[in-house]
C-alpha cells in the first residue's frame, strides 16, 4: 500500500545485544501508544522485551510542564532483558519538559531524539528551563548524541496533501518519531501498519495519515544526513522458544491466571474488588471476561470486596479479591474469617510504597510481614510471590490451586513494578497447566450419619460443602468451632486443637511445593543472593555479571514464602554468606532470621524504585571483599 519508496542506503550498522529506550512527551503526545507500538514491533520481531509506563498520577496535569510528562520505557534485546532497564540508552523527548524530567536517567553518552518544535519559547518557559536557556543550544547536552528533528513541521509537510486539519495532522507526530526509531534500529514497519489499520478501521483517513507519518519518519532516516556519522543499529532477535506469544502486563497476567485456574477447576470465577492503584487493572481485565463466565463485583469498599468474595467462596465459586496495601489493611478482618471458615480465597496484593497512602504509583515490597502476620489471632495462610510480569500468571494460578485444594485463603504478592510492566508470554497449552481439583462433599441421604463439615482428610483439609447440596445443611461462622462438627465451641482444649489443625494444614502445603533451586551460579560457593518477588530481574542481571567476572556467587529466588520450601535451610548452608536484597527494611531477612536463627546480610531500598543491577552488583562485590 506504500506510496513512498523506502530506500535502503548503505549505512553503517552497529549490532547491539540490548537497548533501553524511553519515549517521553507531554501527557497528550501519545507516548504510551507510541511505546506500545514499538514494543509490539520488537516483540513480533522476536526480541526479548520488558516495558514500563511512567505517567503522572494526575489525570490531566498542566500541559508542557514537568509534572505533565508521560513516559514509556522499554528494554529489548537478544539476551539479558529482565527489566525495563535501570537507565536508558535512547531517549525520545517530544518537548523541553520531557527532556528536563528524564535527562538524569539517560546513560552518559546516550542518544537523545528531540522534536525541536517542542522547544519553542512557550515550552521552554513551561518546562522551567526558561526561553533564554534552550538546552539544545546552550551546551547542556554536550555529553550526549543529540538528533534535533523538527517533527511537527516535517509531519505537516508529509501529510499536507491529506486534506486533514492541522490539529489531526499534529496528532500524527508521534508516528513520525516512531518511524525514525524504526529506521535507526533497522526494524520493520509492518506490525505498526497492521495495527493502525485495525485500530482505525472505521476512520480510514486517520489510518492512512498515521501510516504516512510512520513511513515519512522512516524515510527521513534514510534521506537525512543527520545520522550518517553514527549510522544505524541492529538488535538480533532473541533465541526464544518457538511457539505462540502474547504480550501481558503483570496485572493482566494475574487476572488471566485466576480465570484460567477457574476454567481448569471447572469453577466459576468471582472477583469482589474495589479500585485501587496499582491493582485496578486486575478488576478491569476480569470485568471484560464475561464470555468466560467471570463475575466481577465492584464493591462499595475494600471490606465488601473481600466479604462478597468469601460469600461467593461459601457458595462454591473460585473467589478472589485484589488490592494494594491500604486495601489489604482493610481486608484483614475478613481474611481472618476466611481462615476460620476454611474456604478457598485468593487475595492478590499489588504492593506499593507505604505507610498510609504513601506512594500509590510506586513499587515497594513492604507488605510482606502484613501478609504473613497482619491478622488478629493465630491466622496463618500461604503466601506466594510473583517474580516477573509473566510470572504473575503462574503465581495467581498457583495461589488458586493451593486455595482450592487446601481450603484456605492464599495471599499472592505482586507489586507496582510488575503490575504495569509487560513482557512477551509464551502461551501455555491448557494441558501444560497443573490440575486444580476441588473436593466437594457429596449429597447425603436421610439415614446417613450426621454430616461433619470440619472432618479432615489426611492432609488436614476439610471438604467444600456448598449450599444447594441435599443433606449438607450446616451452620458455620467466625466463632470458634468444635472439631469436626463445626458447632460453636468455647472449650479450651478444642480451641488449642483447632488452632493447631489450622496451622498444620497451611504448613503441609510444603508437601506439594517444589524444592528451591539455584537459578544461576554454583551449588556451593561464597555468596547466595536470595531474592523474592520483583527483584528477580535486577538480581538475575547482577549475578550474571559477577559470574562473568569469575566470582563464586549464586542466585535463588523464593516463590513460596509461607510455607518456605523444605530445602531452604540446606541451600543457604551451602554458601558463606546469604544476601537478601528487598524493597523494604528487611522483612524477609527478619523472617529467615526468626525461622532459622541464622544471620543473612540485608540490603534495603525504599525509594519507591526497584533495584537496578548496578546496585546489587556493587553490594555483592562489597561482600566478596569482606570474605
Amino acid at each position: 500500500m506504500s506510496d513512498t519508496t523506502i530506500l535502503n542506503r548503505d549505512d553503517m550498522v552497529t549490532a547491539k545485544t540490548s537497548v533501553s529506550v524511553l519515549f517521553a512527551g507531554d501527557s497528550g503526545d501519545g507516548m504510551q501508544l507510541t511505546g506500545t507500538q514499538f514494543a509490539n514491533t520488537v516483540a513480533v520481531y522476536g526480541s526479548d522485551l520488558n516495558t514500563f509506563p511512567n505517567f503522572p498520577s494526575e489525570i490531566r496535569p498542566p500541559a508542557g510542564t514537568v509534572s505533565g510528562v508521560s513516559g514509556f520505557q522499554l528494554q529489548f534485546g537478544t539476551t539479558g532483558v529482565y527489566t525495563p532497564g535501570a537507565k536508558f540508552d535512547v531517549m525520545i523527548a517530544m518537548n523541553a519538559a520531557a527532556l528536563k524530567a528524564n535527562l538524569k536517567n539517560l546513560h552518559h553518552g546516550g542518544i537523545i531524539i528531540t522534536d525541536t518544535d517542542g522547544f519553542d519559547a512557550k515550552n521552554l518557559n513551561l518546562s522551567g528551563y526558561g526561553e533564554a536557556n534552550n538546552p539544545l543550544e546552550d551546551g547542556t547536552l554536550k555529553d550526549y548524541t543529540v538528533f534535533k528533528i523538527p517533527v511537527v513541521s516535517l509531519t505537516r509537510k508529509a501529510l499536507a496533501e491529506t486534506g486533514l486539519s492541522t490539529k489531526i495532522i499534529d496528532r500524527c507526530k508521534n508516528m513520525f518519531v516512531l518511524g525514525v526509531l524504526y529506521w535507526l534500529y533497522s526494524l520493520p514497519l509492518e506490525t505498526t501498519i497492521k495495527t493502525l489499520k485495525t485500530k482505525f478501521r472505521k476512520k480510514l483517513d486517520i489510518a492512512e495519515a498515521n501510516i504516512k507519518a510512520v513511513q515519512a519518519g522512516y524515510n527521513f532516516g534514510d534521506e537525512t544526513e543527520m545520522f550518517s556519522q553514527h549510522g544505524r543499529f541492529s538488535v538480533a532477535p532473541a533465541d526464544k522458544k518457538p511457539g505462540v506469544y502474547r504480550r501481558v502486563t503483570g496485572n493482566e497476567a494475574s487476572a488471566i491466571g485466576l480465570a484460567a485456574a477457574a476454567k481448569k477447576a471447572g469453577l466459576k470465577l468471582f472477583l469482589g474488588s474495589y479500585p485501587i492503584t496499582p491493582a485496578t487493572e486486575i478488576l478491569q481485565t476480569l470485568a471484560g471476561l464475561k464470555k468466560w463466565g467471570v463475575k466481577t463485583f465492584q464493591a462499595e469498599d475494600e471490606i465488601a470486596g473481600v466479604l462478597t468474595s468469601i460469600g461467593a467462596a461459601y457458595g462454591g465459586a473460585l473467589a478472589a479479591t485484589n488490592t494494594s496495601g491500604p486495601g489489604l489493611a482493610l481486608k484483614t478482618e475478613g481474611m481472618g474469617l476466611a481462615v476460620i471458615l476454611e474456604v478457598p480465597l485468593v487475595i492478590i496484593n499489588v504492593m506499593r510504597g507505604g505507610p498510609s497512602t504513601g506512594l500509590p504509583t510506586k513499587p515497594e515490597q513492604s507488605d510482606l510481614l502484613m501478609a504473613m502476620y497482619g491478622r488478629h489471632g493465630e491466622a496463618p495462610m500461604p503466601v506466594i510471590a510473583a517474580k516477573s510480569p509473566v510470572d504473575c500468571f503462574y503465581a495467581a494460578y498457583e495461589a488458586a490451586k493451593i486455595a482450592v485444594e487446601y481450603m484456605t485463603p492464599v495471599i499472592c504478592l505482586t507489586d507496582g513494578s510488575l503490575a504495569l510492566s509487560s513482557e512477551p508470554m509464551l502461551i501455555p497449552s491448557p494441558d501444560e497447566l497443573p490440575s486444580v481439583t476441588p473436593v466437594f462433599s457429596p449429597a447425603r441421604n436421610a439415614d446417613d450419619p450426621a454430616y461433619l463439615p470440619y472432618k479432615r482428610d489426611e492432609r488436614g483439609v476439610r471438604q467444600w460443602a456448598i449450599p444447594g447440596t441435599k443433606g449438607l445443611e450446616h451452620r458455620i461462622g467466625g466463632l470458634e468451632k468444635q472439631h469436626e462438627t463445626g458447632n460453636v465451641s468455647h472449650d479450651p482444649e478444642n480451641h488449642a486443637l483447632m488452632t493447631k489443625l489450622r496451622a498444620e494444614k497451611v504448613a503441609r502445603v510444603a508437601d506439594i511445593i517444589p524444592d528451591l533451586t539455584i537459578d544461576n551460579g554454583p551449588e556451593k560457593g561464597d555468596v547466595l543472593v536470595l531474592g523474592w518477588g520483583s527483584t528477580y530481574g535486577a538480581i538475575k542481571k547482577a549475578v550474571e555479571q559477577v559470574l562473568e567476572g569469575g566470582c563464586s556467587v549464586a542466585h535463588a529466588h523464593l516463590r513460596y514464602i509461607n510455607p518456605f520450601p523444605k530445602n531452604l535451610r540446606e541451600i543457604m548452608s551451602n554458601y558463606k554468606k546469604v544476601l537478601i536484597p528487598e524493597n523494604n527494611c528487611g522483612q524477609l531477612l527478619s523472617m529467615i532470621r526468626d525461622k532459622f536463627l541464622f544471620e543473612p546480610v540485608g540490603f534495603s531500598k525504599v525509594q519507591g524504585l526497584p533495584f537496578n543491577e548496578m546496585e546489587i552488583e556493587a553490594k555483592i562485590t562489597d561482600i566478596l571483599k569482606e570474605l
Binding site: 466459576k268 463485583f297 460469600g311 461467593a312 461459601y314 441421604n445 467466625g478
Partner: protein, 342 residues
Amino acid sequence: MTDTLAQLTAKDFTSNQEPKWCPGCGDFSVLQQLKNAMADLGLKTEEVVVVSGIGCSSRLPYYVATYGVHGIHGRALAMASGIKTSRPELSVWVGTGDGDALSIGGNHYIHTVRRNLDLNVILFNNEIYGLTKGQYSPTSKVGLKTVTSPNGVVDHPINTAALTLGAGGTFFARVMDRDGKIMREIFKRAAEHKGTSLIEIYQNCPIFNDGAFDAFSNKERKADTTIYLEQGKPLVFGKDNNKGIRLDGFKPVVVDLGSSSVSENDLWIHDEKDFIKANMLSRFFDDPDASEDFLPRPFGIFYVEDRYTYEDALTEQIAAAQENGEGTLEELLAGSSTWTIE
C-alpha cells in the same frame, strides 16, 4: 432428613442448636415466624442460606436448619451479596441488627439496598447494643441513658425507613416483634418480592432497653400511636378506628372520623407502589412521648417497587457475552493479539 416431596413444616427448619437468647427476648418470635414463613413458602432446607453479622440477632443462622453463615460485624450484607451474585438460585436471608446494619455496616446497607439484590433482610432493631451489654446504638432515642451515655444520648437517631427509601430500596416493611401473625405474612411478601426486601422489626430487649417500644406496643396506647398499612385501604387508626390521616396538600394531618365533616372517603388511601407517599410515611417518625401532637408510627408494608435485580442484570450480561458460546481455556490464554516465533 425429610422427604422433599412433602411440604416441610416449621419444625423441619429447626436446627439442633438451642437458642441462647435471654428469656423474654423479642428474637424468639422472629425466629419462629421465620421458620413458619419458610415452611409456608415451600422452601427446601438445602436451597436456603441464612447470613448474619455480629450481635444478638446475628446468632439467627445457628438456629435454622438450612445452610448458614455467621460472619463478622457489619458485613452480613456484603457476604450475602457475594452468595447471591454467585448463586442467584439460592434463597438468601439476612439477620442483622441496628448496630450491625446501620452503624458498623452502614456503608454496606446503603449499597446493598441500591443494588437491589434479591435478599430478604430482617433488621432486628432494639435501639441498643445488647451483646456488648447495653451501649446506645444509632437508633437509640435522644436522651437515652446507657453505660456509654450516662448523661443521655446526644446522637440524632437514624430513621431506618427514610434511609432505606433514600438509598433506593424497593421493599420496606416494619413490624412489631410480638405481632407474629403479621410478621409471618410480611416475611412471605418479602420472599416473594424480587429485590432487596427490608423488614425492620421493633424488637424489645428485656435486659438493656426494656420497653423501648412501649409507646407502640402497649395495649392501652398502641391504637392511638400506630397505624397499620393495608394496600388500597384508608389510613385509619385509633380506638374504634375513630381517626384517620388526610393529606392537606402535602401535609398529612390527623382527622377525627367522629366529626360529621370528615368521612373515610377523604382519607389517604395506602398505595405501596407510590414512592412519594412511601417517603412521606417514612417521615411519620414522631415520638408519642415527646408531644401530644404526633403522627402515628406506621407498621406493615410501606413500599414495593419492581426493579431489575443486580444478579439478573449481571447474568444477562454474561449470557449476552456468551451468545456465541462460552469462551474456552485456549481462547482465554491466547487473548486477542498473538505472534508466532518459529
